[in-house]
Symmetry: C2
DNA sequence: CCAAGAAATTAGAATATATCTAATATGAGA
DNA sequence: TCTCATATTAGATATATTCTAATTTCTTGG
């Protein structure tokens, strides 16, 4: 599919295109979901059992550093990771920890002064609630 | 100070006011910062060394469940916790993991339909960047 | 195409964070 | 004061992540 694109983005970030690293990247792009390191490790090894846990973590660290992948912390759960694609906000399920994307839209900046002398890099919205799998019987949509 | 207030909010949540639980709550309110479980455990025991790690975690879990305390996940770091006070957004330092409050302001809801059948409970803004301690020399404020 | 060397991989140990267990203690309502 | 549901404890266990140091492998330059 876009195997060439993956190779190019790795090369562009000066990361060698090893089978393990490629597999992590390909998995994340194919999935288009937010996966834990354990899920990625398992999935990559299911296809070709040649990657170690350390390598999975190393690659994720490098891919994050290179800006190809993004870390998403989830309260009370293992961290998740996603391939950076089009910009979006996040929805996190209170019950199962699943992270889902919410279509991007611009949010207003804080009142000037409120940021103080902090250096702002990015800003995103986090929605919390129940995903469709965890939501109780239909018709009970509640909005805070 | 507001020791009576703490007792009342515990009682209101049907949580017994034990010395350990009170100490956790008092510390969080006094600090008005986002602390890790380890920090809380250490601080509480510095004053009166009678609390165990398990108790600290149990109490934090119960206080979160009761809605008196809020969990804040930080990528690549131990979770942090804060006493729920006035509503606010969060700023997380890329470098040291410190969580800081940003004055609350309303953010627009996502386009209807974008949430799908998900149940929305709350929504907050997360700003990322460098805190004043970690920011490099002054004058270099950069905004994405 | 090959050699060289930087970069990446590995298994397993080590560390950090969080939860569980089951025996014991205690706050607070009656 | 008595009672007992609730809370606490030390330490073991579970889970998540990083480290170590020996080995292997991409890739570049010759």
């Amino acid at each position: 599919m876009d195997s060439e694109a993956i190779k190019q983005s790795l090369k562009g970030s000066r990361l060698r295109c090893t089978p393990q690293r490629y597999a992590v990247m390909a998995f994340l792009m194919r999935q288009n979901r937010h996966s834990t390191a354990a899920e990625i490790f398992a999935a990559v090894n299911r296809v070709d059992p040649r990657s170690s846990r350390a390598t999975t973590y190393n690659n994720l660290r490098d891919l994050v550093k290179a800006g190809l992948v993004r870390d998403v912390a989830v309260e009370g759960r293992a961290a998740r990771v996603e391939a950076k694609g089009v910009r979006h906000h996040h929805f996190i399920c209170d019950r199962c920890g699943m992270v889902e994307d919410i279509e991007w839209y611009n949010v207003p900046r804080p009142a000037s002064g409120s940021l103080g002398r902090r250096v702002l890099r990015e800003c995103e919205l986090i929605f919390r609630g129940l995903c469709t799998k965890c939501a109780p019987a239909r018709g009970s949509r509640r909005v805070s």
